[in-house]
């Protein structure tokens, strides 16, 4: 009775299968689902891993530093009451957005979350426009009308941060549908947190993408907490990646603090999506160093737990790897450090020097002509 739809091509699934994985074979022989249950830190893996070229390494480092320094500056401004609203920091998770976006094209799309600064920066967002938006100024990405949770840059495929947990997932599926209808080879990356795992939006969005074989890469940033609720207490089952089996799509679990591991998994998924192989569900294991929002001191987390994760700081690990493997030298990075410092300082200056939007603009921009 059940007719099978287009399936991921065997070659690609075998490629993924070359990492540790488990296979579930269903009654239908034609359906093959591979799931990398634990691609642990690429640095830890036996085989000689192939590293990205120097230019990409420099970009990765710069991107992670831009995210971290941008948010440190934002937090500082907030603590000094120069900024208000809800701020969710990505600090500690930089490797995930960076590794995933490293090989996206400008015409590829991403949907983001309430914790979206990192996604936005990794996809090419401008710090001054982002900072101005956080300050509610007219020069911000949204002219001050959106704030941190609603930054978008449609010109470079950033379809928007989102204040509603899980809501970006059906939107990503829709963008993926559009790409498929256009016949082009673009892809859509959908970032979401472990807290979005239980939402109906997740299920409706992923099921649709799987049924229609859309070029969407679902990236769950499992930082182990919603607010105070643990991922395990909100998501049933062995893991979020394991759900790929239920949807008949490819799934992968990856060390989200290892930018190289994330990059490798993302490359495979992007490849597959560009070549009509359909969606992938990636679960990145990571951790937020800060509280849920700028207001949260995260008392519900064990001090020890945080310390363990601080040891896995994605930026420190990147530095360690590139120096051990002699891929970059200290100067490369210190140079970037000071450039980023300056860029962030300029962004703050730009933002604070910018005016607030005009009061008579409140009802403008609601409807298009």
């Amino acid at each position: 009775m059940r007719q099978r739809r287009e399936l991921p091509d065997e070659a690609i699934s075998d490629k993924i299968a070359s990492a540790q994985f488990m296979t579930m074979t269903t009654s239908s022989r034609r359906q093959r689902v591979t799931l990398m249950a634990s691609r642990k830190s690429s640095t830890g893996s036996k085989r000689k891993v192939q590293r990205p070229p120097r230019e990409k390494l420099l970009w990765m480092y710069r991107t992670m530093m831009r995210i971290r320094r941008f948010e440190e500056a934002a937090e500082d401004a907030f603590r000094n009451a120069r900024m208000r609203g809800a701020l969710h920091f990505y600090i500690g998770e930089e490797a995930t957005a960076t590794g995933v976006c490293a090989d996206l094209r400008t015409d590829d799309y991403i949907t983001s979350t309430h914790r979206g600064h990192g996604h936005c920066i990794a996809k090419g967002g401008q710090l001054n426009k982002m900072m101005a938006e956080l300050f509610g100024r007219v020069t911000g990405y949204c002219g001050g009308k959106g704030g941190s949770m609603h930054i978008a840059d449609l010109d470079i495929g950033i379809l928007g941060a989102n204040g509603i947990v899980g809501a970006g997932i059906p939107i990503a599926a829709g963008a993926g549908l559009g790409v498929k209808l256009s016949g082009e080879d673009g892809v859509v990356v959908c970032f979401f947190g472990d807290g979005a795992g239980p939402t109906g939006a997740f299920h409706e969005g992923v099921n649709f993408a799987a049924v229609k074989n859309l070029p969407v890469i679902f990236v769950c940033e499992n930082n182990h907490y919603g607010m105070a609720t643990t991922s395990a207490n909100s998501n049933a089952g062995p893991s979020i990646a394991a759900r790929a089996v239920a949807y008949g799509i490819h799934g992968a679990s990856v060390d989200g603090n290892d930018v190289f591991a994330v990059h490798a998994v993302a490359l495979e998924a992007i490849d597959r999506a560009r070549n009509g192989g359909g969606p992938t569900l990636i679960e990145a294991d990571t951790y937020r160093f800060k509280g849920h929002t700028v207001h949260d001191m995260a008392a519900y987390r064990a001090k020890k737990e945080l310390e363990e994760w601080l040891k896995k700081d994605p930026i420190e690990r990147f530095k360690k790897t590139v120096s051990t493997e002699k891929l970059l030298d200290a100067e490369d990075m210190t140079g970037i450090d000071s450039e980023v410092e300056r860029e962030v300082a300029d962004a703050v200056e730009f933002a604070e020097a910018s005016p607030y939007p005009e009061l008579d603009s409140i009802e403008q921009g609601v409807y298009a002509d």
Binding site: Y109, T111, G140, Y141, C142, G143, G144, K145, G146, H150, A152, L154, L159, G160, N162, G163, I164, A167, I169, P170, I171, A172, A173, G174, A175, G176, L177, G178, V179, L181, V188, G200, A201, E204, G205, N207, F208, V211, Q364, G365, V366, Y367, A368, D369
Partner: protein
Amino acid sequence: MTTTTTAPAVREQAPEEERLIFLNQALREALDEELERDPTVFAIGEEIGIWGGAYKVTEGLLEKYGPTRVIDTPISEALIAGAAVGAAITGWRPVAEFMYVDFMGIAMDQIVNQAAKNRYMFGGKATLPIVYRAAMGAGIGNAAQHMQSLEAWFAHVPGLKVVTPATPYDAKGLLKSAIRDNNVVVFLEHKGIYANRGHVPEAEYLIPLGQADVKRIGSDATIVSYSRQVLFALEAAEQLSQEGIEVEVVDLRTLYPMDIDSAIASVQKTNRALVVHEAVQFGGLGGEIASQIQEKAFDYLDAPVMRLGALHSPVPFSEPLEVASFPSVETIAASVRKLLEGGV
């Protein structure tokens, strides 16, 4: 303002030269013509392809345009609404169908927090040309979860436009405009009138959103209404005419943006107003309409603005209860008589 619409009320005999078609056919023509003319338009929804839509509005379109223009989805209303957002913001013009407006509760977050707000939240940059179509209204015995009129929810949300046609002529012209509109339009079709026949010219035409239509001229009282109740109001007006009472019937057609000026102009002439809708009266749009009338035509009113809506209950299944639960030709006529005696 009064347009020259000659759309006949149901049952009314139409002149020879007129082309009488069903309302769902008129909607299908609109969709067909827009799919034909603009390759970025596509239809998406549950059972709109093979089945042809629960009320056959999309019948034949899958065969004509194929599965990339007429997209059947799983039962996932939030996905349908959200996929429309994702497609629209990346350059497409989705026309999404919800089988019943009652199911839109599942999609309210995507419609209200995403579709309606994205443009504004993103600084007025994003453009989301989306039409969310749905069947609304009572009268066919599908009970409480399939017969609601929820237009008041949508009209209250900045970023949405709301359209509620009453005749095949209006339905076609308004749907074509809605599809070409660069905003999110909630297009509500009363399921009780899909099978009504009315004049729809061969030649292409558009009816701009936000323009009311005076469907009957009268001097003694004004009935402001929309969707199927306009037809009931026209019938009531014919009855009342026998009694020498001439009622003017203003069909708002679009609820947001609302052409209240046409209603005001009429009330300034008749000095009496009755607002009628099939939605539950409490908290319905009748309140908005009546309030604006008394705000803007206070000195013209010889009686308070009256409202007539559904009783305060879910729609009951049993036929006699169901038909008695919302306004009818009889209760409308009775209300007008009461209005002329000073009202309420």
